[in-house]
């Protein structure tokens, strides 16, 4: 069974739960795969650390949590330190290059670009950093097509912010592709 495990981690308020939900929705509703999303709750989810996990598979998913992570997004140094250890050999680590200065060592592929800054300066609103990150994760993991992921993004945001989010998603997707090649 093709079980693929993703973790979106960082600080509360960065929108990582939403990013995880949209990734899972893309797989489950638009890609025709199965997906489970779960998250940490409680004090952790109120300003401190934040974590959203997504399992994607072609068949039924039993254990809904990460066992060995295939792809990790770390939006803070703390998250990178805390979660990179159970990243699979050959897995993907995406980090915000402005926020994660010390790249954790390991046998995985690290991709870095200034995610929040891209949102702020290139897209125009810092608030869509999570969608930039999502676009990047979609590009790096290949679990869902760019089209299906975009559909999931656009069906999850308010009407007035569709264009902003479309731009954020595309920017993230393309920046990650470029960074991965480079």
């Amino acid at each position: 069974m093709s079980r693929y495990e993703l973790r979106f981690s960082g600080a509360g308020g960065q929108g990582l739960i939403t990013a995880g939900i949209i990734m899972a929705k893309a797989a489950s509703i638009y890609e025709g795969k199965q997906a489970v999303q779960s998250q940490s709750y409680g004090p952790e989810a109120r300003g401190g650390a934040s974590k959203s996990e997504v399992i994607i598979s072609d068949g039924p998913i039993d254990y809904p949590k990460v066992t060995q992570c295939d792809a990790l997004l770390a939006m803070t140094q703390e998250a990178a330190n805390k979660y990179s250890h159970d990243l699979k050999e050959g897995g993907v680590l995406l980090i915000d290059s402005d926020l994660v200065k010390i790249v954790p060592p390991g046998n995985f592929k690290t991709v870095a670009f200034p995610i929040i800054n891209t949102a702020k300066n290139d897209v125009g609103r810092e608030i869509v950093a999570n969608i930039v990150a999502l676009g990047a994760m979609v590009a790096l993991t290949g679990q869902v097509t760019r089209e299906n992921a975009e559909k999931a993004v656009l069906s999850s945001v308010p009407e007035a912010f569709i264009e902003l989010n479309r731009k954020a998603f595309s920017m993230g997707y393309e920046r990650a592709e470029a960074a991965a090649k480079g």
């Binding site: 939900i21 899972a24 509703i29 999303q37 779960s38 709750y41 039993d62 254990y63 809904p64 949590k65």
Partner: protein
């Protein structure tokens, strides 16, 4: 024509399932980790002319749903550990007065405030023994979001069919995780209506056993007038202390469920045909168990899983049969051994029962179960 699908949490699915089942009244009190049920009900119920009320406390919420049920509505409340404790007296009231209602309880750590956001499975005994006095208990433990949707519908059906409170108890993991839900079309899943009286109002008795163990229930405001009390009662609903009546009525109330275990109990057998080690699991833990069983099979171990979907009434018959032919049971649960006691009771020493008990707010992972499977010799 493709069916409506959505990607949602177990709690959200529960609210939608309730509405499919005909629920028109929700009474609740905010408590983590079950609040999404109330939130969805507050949005959806008024759209169909239903009512949502946030009561002043957990007990009030339970009282309000019982009152609304007597006035003819199909009713739901949602809660979690401390709220379940507070509701217990009135759950007993629902049992003795035989008022259909569904109590959706998300299991979090306890006792008391415990770990409000951590998953747990430690309310399963409270579901049966929480309220005082002998009473029937039905408790369903779904393991996925889709199943939560469907089991809530089944809970409403059982509640109406047997005229008794029914509990649906997902653990926090099932309640909060998101999965795809495929919504059934209207009519696709059977929805059981309340059995209404066929006799004219002047002949109506709310506990008339000439209609069987489950007498029809009239609604207040429907032309019938009758008395309801939490005291031991006679067939006409009025209190009594007559020994033979009290004994007979108490026995009937319990018999409604005990005599219909085969209709109520549900379970899943996974790779049990040749299994030597059986993992008995429920709720989210069964998902770890399935993973572990699959790995064990790959390694040549004859493992299987018995998944409990209906915790109460407990599948005694099935566990007894398994005990007679397997080498051992493995029971992973997020408590300190509640289901294990039931398995031991049924195994009667014929097969060892190995528990994995976790109450630290972390899920039981497949590795832990696999290790334990290997301990069975």
């Amino acid at each position: 024509m493709s069916k409506k699908v959505a990607f949602m949490q177990g709690n959200e699915a529960a609210a939608h399932g309730a509405i499919y089942a005909g629920c028109t009244f929700f009474g609740g009190y905010p408590i983590t980790p079950s609040t999404e049920v109330a939130e969805v009900c507050s949005i959806e119920l008024p759209k169909i002319g239903g009512k949502f009320i946030q009561m002043e406390d957990e007990i009030g919420a339970m009282a309000a749903i019982l009152g609304a049920s007597l006035a003819g509505a199909k009713v739901l409340t949602s809660t979690s550990g401390p709220g379940l404790s507070l509701k217990q007296e009135l759950i007993g009231y629902g049992c003795i007065a035989e008022i259909p209602c569904v109590i959706y309880n998300v299991m979090r750590g306890g006792p008391s405030t415990g770990m409000p956001t951590g998953p747990s499975q430690s309310d399963v005994m409270c579901a049966k023994w929480g309220t005082h006095g002998d009473h029937p208990a039905i408790c369903l433990t779904p393991a996925s979001v889709q199943e939560t949707y469907e089991e809530v519908i089944r809970a409403f059906n059982l509640s109406e069919k047997y005229r008794t409170p029914v509990m649906v108890m997902p653990d926090e993991i099932v309640a909060h995780m998101r999965e795809r839900v495929v919504f059934p079309e209207p009519g696709e899943i059977e929805v059981i209506p309340r059995k209404a009286p066929t006799v004219p109002p002047e002949q109506y008795k709310p506990y008339d056993t000439s209609f069987g163990d489950v007498p029809p229930l009239a609604a207040f405001g429907s032309g019938y007038k009758f008395h309801v009390t939490g005291l031991n009662k006679m067939q006409d609903g009025f209190p009594t202390t007559k020994a033979e009546i009290v004994q007979a009525e108490e026995e009937r109330q319990v018999r409604k469920v005990e005599a219909n275990v085969d209709d109520i109990a549900s379970f899943e057998e996974y790779m049990l045909a040749d299994a030597e080690v059986v993992v008995v699991a429920y709720g989210s833990t069964s998902r770890s168990a399935r993973y572990a069983v699959n790995v064990a099979r790959e390694q040549g171990i004859k493992a299987g899983m018995f998944r409990i979907k209906t915790f109460w009434p407990f599948p005694d018959k099935q566990i007894k049969a398994l005990a007679a032919k397997v080498k051992g049971f493995v029971i992973p649960e997020m408590n300190l051994g509640m289901c294990s006691l039931e398995i031991e009771r049924n195994a009667q020493g014929k097969a060892p029962v190995l528990g994995i008990f976790r109450v630290d707010g972390e899920p039981i992972n497949p590795d832990q179960i696999l290790e334990k499977i290997k301990e069975v010799k």
